[in-house]
Symmetry: C4
Subunit: 253 residues, 4 copies
């Protein structure tokens, strides 16, 4: 029983996987993208990370079983060229600046022990509603910046702080000699945004040469479009009702 960030891992041999991370954040872009990869590729869980800097609650899973909040690593090897992915996702991010640094360092330590040389963290980029959300990117080396540009990624985000693990892990990776990227999908951010996740996944597909059928995200995207339309309608109704209440009874106009 220890009070520190710890990883429980299965003994899996990896050669040089790419670490792709998507944790809760703006528009749930990272988490949706990571979950999609895991589901679509059939990746299997190889490690679990617990931390006393995670929120202090128990989560009830679909079988009614209560468990700690956690981050997880899933591993996949496949394709014609034996590409390898180590996918990081989870319930939460650490709750304090110091906790963020501690967990990020622990993740990098694990990544290095598994011979990871490239990390891509996925997140959301706060923006307005857009038919085709853009993908913003940054890297911790000029070489990767060029590759991102070649894939149509917007790299003009200088000065912007990328808050949380999506920005902190790539920044810390630099001093560990690891290449790392952030890929941020444009999103309004207040609701889960599978369309932004799809945009980022499309870049990752190009970057790593993965075979991924991204149209499998379309049903989720449609559901969100419908949900937003309903919300908008409800808001309008509410607004009209309030305007009438404001005006009050008018016996004489």
């Amino acid at each position: 029983m220890e009070l520190r960030t710890l990883i429980r891992e299965a003994p899996v041999r990896m050669d040089r996987p790419v670490l792709i991370g998507g944790l809760p954040g703006l528009g749930s872009v990272g988490r949706i993208a990571a979950s999609f990869l895991i589901r679509e590729l059939g990746a299997r869980r190889v490690a679990v990370l617990y931390s006393p800097h995670f929120p202090h609650y128990g989560i009830v899973n679909s079988k009614g079983v209560v468990r700690l909040p956690k981050n997880e690593f899933y591993y996949w090897r496949g394709g014609s060229d034996g590409a390898e992915l180590l996918i990081l996702t989870g319930d939460c991010q650490p709750q304090s600046p110091r906790g963020q640094y501690e967990v990020a360092l622990r993740i990098l330590e694990y990544a290095k022990s598994k011979s990871v040389e490239l990390i891509a963290m996925i997140g959301g980029y706060s923006s307005e509603e857009r038919e085709r959300p853009r993908v913003y990117g940054a890297a911790n080396s000029p070489v990767w910046m060029e590759r991102l540009k070649g894939l149509g990624v917007e790299v003009d985000v200088s000065g912007v702080p990328i808050v949380g693990m999506a920005g902190l892990i790539p920044a810390l990776a630099r001093s560990e000699g690891l290449d790392a990227l952030c890929l941020l999908g444009e999103t309004v951010g207040y609701m889960p945004d599978p369309k932004a996740a799809k945009a980022v996944l499309s870049v990752i597909r190009g970057l790593l040469g993965l075979e991924l059928n991204l149209s499998n995200l379309d049903p989720d995207i449609e559901r969100m479009v419908e949900l937003k339309a309903k919300l908008k309608e409800a808001e309008l109704r509410m607004e009209r009702a309030m305007r009438r209440a404001d005006e009050g009874p008018r016996y004489i106009s």
Copy 2:
């Protein structure tokens, strides 16, 4: 003089008590239930827990003596079958995520040293006013989930975070090889809710085969009903007065 969470315990031999915990929280459901068990069974105090993660105040007891905020363990052995309970209650919960993890681990350490194999944490479940509050439950093993269902407990709370010790202790217990449950009584939550506590205690009575006269909680329940009625009346009066003030003097209607 040490700056860490510590337990001062009396040397009591226990065989395999069930740990039942009720700490301050939503509707005070846990604390009311634990206090009732202690009073009704005549359990005696066997350990006290102090922590620098508890709030920074002194509390004045009924004799005017000022003391630290604390958590306490009470022990009871009884009934025809020599059932054993170790009851956890207290003034407060730790004030930070990290403090919650530290205190929860310390409690589990103590529980294991006393051969506890089953833990039931009691709390409140935010809901609307209801004639017969339901009890929501979760467990850290499927076996116990089934038993809870058999006792009429609602187990459909997947995805909901159970914040604080009521959720964190069962979640942490899992990695310590201990069975653990949460039992949450439906409550509006802004006032002490003995009716919700009674609902949970009724489940616990069934679960552990305890002889408990729960009608001893009825006077408290009635007092709360009266108090709520008075509050409601006062609110209505206030509202009417404010409406009149808003309207202002009307010389001509």
Copy 3:
């Protein structure tokens, strides 16, 4: 250069001083009382406490010199019977629950090293404006409770948390085998309240048999009475002006 709470002390021999503490808090009651004692008795500084849990600022003293926020101990021996006081006061209280526990323990350690056997912490008790503010008290032993009652102190504060060092130090003192009291002067609390401080000092004078001319606080009390009157007047003026603005121009009444 260390990152912990530390005390720098002059090598002063004490026999069995009473520690009286007054730190910033409600109505500045504690700090006013402690400062008065230091000034009136001519106590001299014997120790300074610094802590990384204090606020992160520099304070500029009356000579323009910038210094760390700190707590200080002043020592006085005098009177016909050679009474001894160790008076604690300072700029601030620690900023977090854990910091409060750390600093309180460090203060108790120092007190024990100086053979202190009795501690009286002074604070404010939130109440309404009153011609003669009452003094509320608590102790960490029944014996002292009785003595407080004999001095007209209200001891019926059960259940109330006494937040900050005024409550935490007496509560922690108990496990260190030290007798300790809180003495809380009734105060509205939003402004420095020398009248409440005078009420508490009057109890302390009786308790320890000190010779103190408390009327030396009267000029401060009068200044506050005047200041409050001015504030009230300004508030009334503001209120009237706003009411007129609300009403707006009225061409037809």
Copy 4:
């Protein structure tokens, strides 16, 4: 991979540089002043400080490269008399009181290892708009107070807490036997204020006998004047529009 404040330094020999620090804060006065010195004197970077108490984000630099938030030291030796400056600036300040103390102590440790004997921290002093912003100052020794007065610095700031590194470093420096000053330029504070920075730099120029062409700050100052004028205009337009909306349609006056 360590979780503590650390400095990576180039092996540069210094004789007795003056440390001048300007970190983000009110009106960005310190940061603007430090950046100006670095640019104008052509100082070169000699050390970088990272801390887990800094904010948990990655920052994207002008080349699109993501990096950790950091503080930096720049060194300059020059002039006819071989004056030496060690200039501290950076992206951020630590996020908690304890973090502030940790980083401040680490900076002082580095300063001592480089034989620094005098520190001047630059910041902003909250005030109203003023044609010629004054400079407020404090020192940790009476000798330096006198010198500041001689340069027209306002030293009457007793009782005011100087929050953050600008106040904490000089206050801590005292116990390390280092002379230290704060120089605070008057600023409204909600926008970058190069005029306040210029006022402080003018004092520093006099204090250290530096040759500095401060008129190079004038274009920045003019840009801010224009920006403020535009903002004001926009605010006025907005206000007028809202007033009209409030009034609503008036068919009959």
